[in-house]
């Protein structure tokens, strides 16, 4: 019983972290602070995955999201913005419309979720060991994921090439253009 309430306390703590920091991410007027709050949200999500026993998923969340994407976002913030700058306040009309849309959407979705009667499965804990995940990723049998795995590897290659081509410095000097 004690361990159950401990799990529950950890769950509610991380829920509060996720909700508070995701609201702060979209309302903070300093861009670097917003990125830091986003990092906390992503770490809270990783904690959810660990709580649900998906340890591989949680590790991927930390390395890819918290370690990769947030660092990329912070670097691009440092390249493109002045850190001390504050955003201008949002206009009242736009604020009201956006708030109405998101509150209505959240209310409707929560209504559907709370009305639906989900029947939890009684099979037991999922087996999310790394061995099983690796076998499933490279298996072409039923429940194998080798096709999406290969497609994603192609997509990543395309993303690498595309990012390099787009962000490359153009030969903008006039001499270069004339020589060509």
């Amino acid at each position: 019983m004690i361990s159950l309430t401990f799990h529950q306390a950890v769950f509610y703590f991380f829920s509060a972290v996720i909700v508070i920091f995701s609201i702060l991410t979209v309302t903070s007027r300093r861009i670097l602070r917003a990125a830091t709050y986003l990092l906390f949200v992503l770490l809270g999500t990783a904690a959810f995955y660990f709580l649900l026993n998906y340890t591989f998923m949680g590790a991927m969340q930390i390395t890819l999201y918290a370690g990769g994407i947030v660092v990329l976002i912070i670097f691009s913030i440092l390249l493109t913005s002045h850190v001390g700058d504050k955003f201008e306040p949002i206009g009242a009309g736009k604020l009201i419309v956006s708030l109405l849309i998101s509150l209505f959407g959240a209310g409707f979705t929560l209504y559907v979720f709370l009305k639906t009667d989900f029947t939890p499965s009684s099979v037991g804990l999922p087996d999310a060991s790394v061995r099983k995940i690796g076998n499933a990723l490279l298996s072409y049998q039923r429940d194998g994921f080798v096709l999406p795995f290969e497609v994603v590897s192609l997509l990543l290659l395309a993303a690498i090439v595309g990012a390099i081509v787009i962000a490359r410095k153009e030969p903008a000097d006039n001499e270069n253009l004339n020589n060509e």
């Binding site: 159950l4 309430t5 799990h7 529950q8 769950f11 829920s15 996720i18 909700v19 995701s22 609201i23 991410t25 979209v26 861009i31 990125a35 986003l38 949200v41 999500t45 959810f48 995955y49 649900l52 998906y54 991927m60 969340q61 890819l64 999201y65 994407i69 990329l72 976002i73 691009s76 390249l79 493109t80 913005s81 955003f87 949002i90 736009k94 956006s98 708030l99 849309i101 998101s102 959407g105 959240a106 979705t109 979720f113 709370l114 939890p120 804990l125 999922p126 995940i133 429940d143 999406p148 994603v152 997509l155 990543l156 395309a158 993303a159 690498i160 990012a163 390099i164 787009i166 962000a167």
Partner: protein, 105 residues
């Protein structure tokens, strides 16, 4: 299985996270903060996939694999988006979407 945490608890958290992402996407005028809002939404959907997998179909792994592929695609998307944002900044000296309206019809 825990008896004290229900699927609904997880779904409430992910719904609030998703719609704060929607709110940010609608109100932000800066390309990087809009990208961050999109990441929030993707993350909320990932939580949903994993939670449905865990609570409703623990014998299968489809939900977790879908979330895994979404994370990988989000990484690819973020890298290309940031390359584009840096290109836009070089050309327009600003990443505010009010200033980047050259392709607007």
């Amino acid at each position: 299985m825990w008896q004290d945490i229900s699927l609904q608890d997880v779904l409430i958290v992910s719904t609030l996270m998703f719609f704060s992402g929607v709110y940010g996407f609608l109100t932000r005028r800066n390309l990087i903060t809009m990208l961050m809002s999109v990441e929030l939404m993707l993350n909320a959907v990932n939580i949903n996939f994993v939670a449905f997998n865990y609570f409703l179909h623990p014998e299968n792994m489809q939900g977790m694999f879908f979330a895994l592929f979404v994370v990988v695609i989000a990484a690819a998307e973020a890298s290309v988006a940031i390359a584009i944002i840096i290109g836009i900044y070089r050309r327009f000296k600003s990443i505010n979407i009010e200033d980047v309206s050259k392709m607007k019809f």
